[in-house]
């Protein structure tokens, strides 16, 4: 068989992943969890990026230098919301362990990369505590912010794939899980 062709098994797996995704988000409570988590992270990322301010007036602004980062943080926030919501579903409906490793690494990396470390108190702490190593660390986070965010999106995609896989296996193994509880 040609390597470029998608096999029937792969199509079946994709359909099953999609089915489980629809299972989870057919319940309003999981949509609510995903939306809330995504919103909280969106606010947090935009405060870190100095795009969202609450005082003296509430204002959001998007300067040209921040557009790429803003797009990436939007993707990250949405992915975090979905992954958390699916983890809650898995916790509630499955005997499988949570898919936390990839989620935590992805979300923490995105939070870290969202801060201009050396412009803030975090940089101040790094420099005053670790000296030259602190400068290197804060410069790394500032200079490689976009690549770090891309890595965090990739990790979250992996977390999403992993949790979908777990839910799918659960659907296959345990027939009654096909019901939406």
């Amino acid at each position: 068989m040609n390597g470029n062709q998608i096999t029937k098994g792969e199509i079946k797996e994709m359909n099953q992943n999609l089915l489980c995704f629809r299972f989870v988000f057919s319940k309003w409570v999981y949509v609510l969890i995903a939306g809330s988590i995504a919103s909280i992270f969106w606010i947090m990322f935009n405060i870190f990026d100095q795009l969202l301010f609450f005082t003296p007036i509430v204002i959001f602004y998007l300067p040209p230098d921040a557009v790429i980062g803003f797009i990436l943080t939007n993707i990250t926030s949405i992915l975090i919301g979905i992954v958390v919501s699916m983890n809650v579903y898995l916790l509630r409906h499955s005997k499988f362990k949570l898919s936390l490793a990839s989620f935590l690494s992805g979300s923490s990396l995105s939070v870290l990369s969202s801060t201009c470390a050396s412009c803030t108190s975090l940089g101040f702490v790094l420099v005053s505590t670790f000296g030259a190593a602190g400068i290197a660390a804060s410069s790394l986070m500032s200079n490689y912010q976009i690549p770090l965010r891309i890595i965090s999106v990739a990790l979250l995609m992996w977390a999403l794939y992993s949790i979908s896989g777990k839910l799918t296996s659960n659907c296959v193994i345990n027939g009654k899980s096909r019901k939406i509880i």
């Binding site: 909280i40 100095q50 301010f53 609450f54 200079n143």
Partner: protein, 263 residues
């Protein structure tokens, strides 16, 4: 249905995330801190420190930080800052003064310089309502220290604000070498009318080393924890309000408008 434990778990996650948002918001200074005239005065340690402005941060013990309380309000009055050599743009008798504590390698300072400062300039500075003072808060490494000294050398020739724009418009990645001494001299050479011999000599002998150290130490003992930090005050140094971060123009507009209407 979702069980009791799951409800509890969800609530816990929400609480944790809300706490994170709150604390990051506070830590990153997105709040304005108002400093009243009666704020406790602290001893200013700046002049006694012989270290360069950058290593001062490395050795600065954050437990000494006076919690964002400004030291002596008189030290930030416009006349005092001018007499000590801080660069100023705008009408010296303008009712409001904005003091920027910045670092030439800081990306958010660059954002302010490119996005907000031009609007402040055309709306308030050129109309004589506000003047802007720059003070150095070197936080990003040794190249920042050199850039701060070089900018003061440009100020000697009345070219600080040209150099300010040139540096921010040519800003590169932090500590990548774009602000090394050689490049600082090249960037200065692009400014019309600057005497390069005088500038180079000033940079080479580090004429403003102590000046930059003092500015940085002042920011440290004032408890500022990041760049850019802005103090918006009446030109006699009273009614201070502090902004930490690259706030957009409408935020400045709100504070300046309020101060102007108060008279």
């Amino acid at each position: 249905m979702i069980g009791k434990h799951t409800h509890f778990g969800i609530l816990l996650v929400f609480f944790a995330l809300l706490s994170t948002v709150y604390f990051t918001h506070v830590a990153f200074g997105a709040e304005i801190e108002k400093h009243s005239e009666s704020a406790e005065e602290r001893e200013h340690e700046g002049n006694s420190n012989n270290q360069n402005g950058f290593s001062a941060i490395e050795s600065f013990n954050s437990s000494n930080s006076p919690n964002n309380t400004l030291t002596k309000s008189a030290e930030l009055s416009l006349l005092d800052m001018i007499s000590k050599g801080s660069p100023v743009i705008g009408n010296k008798s303008a009712p409001i003064t904005i003091v920027e504590f910045g670092d030439f390698q800081c990306q958010f300072c660059g954002r302010f310089a490119k996005q907000t400062e031009p609007l402040l300039n055309s709306t308030y500075i050129q109309t004589g309502k506000v003047n802007l003072v720059f003070k150095h808060f070197v936080t990003h490494g040794p190249d920042s220290f050199n850039a701060a000294i070089a900018s003061q050398c440009a100020n000697d020739q009345g070219k600080f604000w040209d150099y300010y724009s040139t540096l921010y418009n040519n800003q590169g990645a932090e500590n990548s070498g774009w602000a090394n001494i050689e490049n600082l001299k090249k960037l200065a050479a692009s400014i019309f009318g600057i005497n390069m011999q005088e500038f180079n000599s000033c940079v080479d002998i580090q004429k403003y080393k102590t000046f930059v150290e003092n500015d940085t130490n002042f920011a440290l003992v004032s408890g500022f924890q990041g760049t850019p930090t802005f103090i918006i005050e009446k030109n006699d140094g009273s009614q201070k309000e502090i902004l930490l971060g690259a706030y957009p123009f409408p935020s400045f507009q709100a504070i300046i408008g309020k101060k102007l209407s108060e008279g």
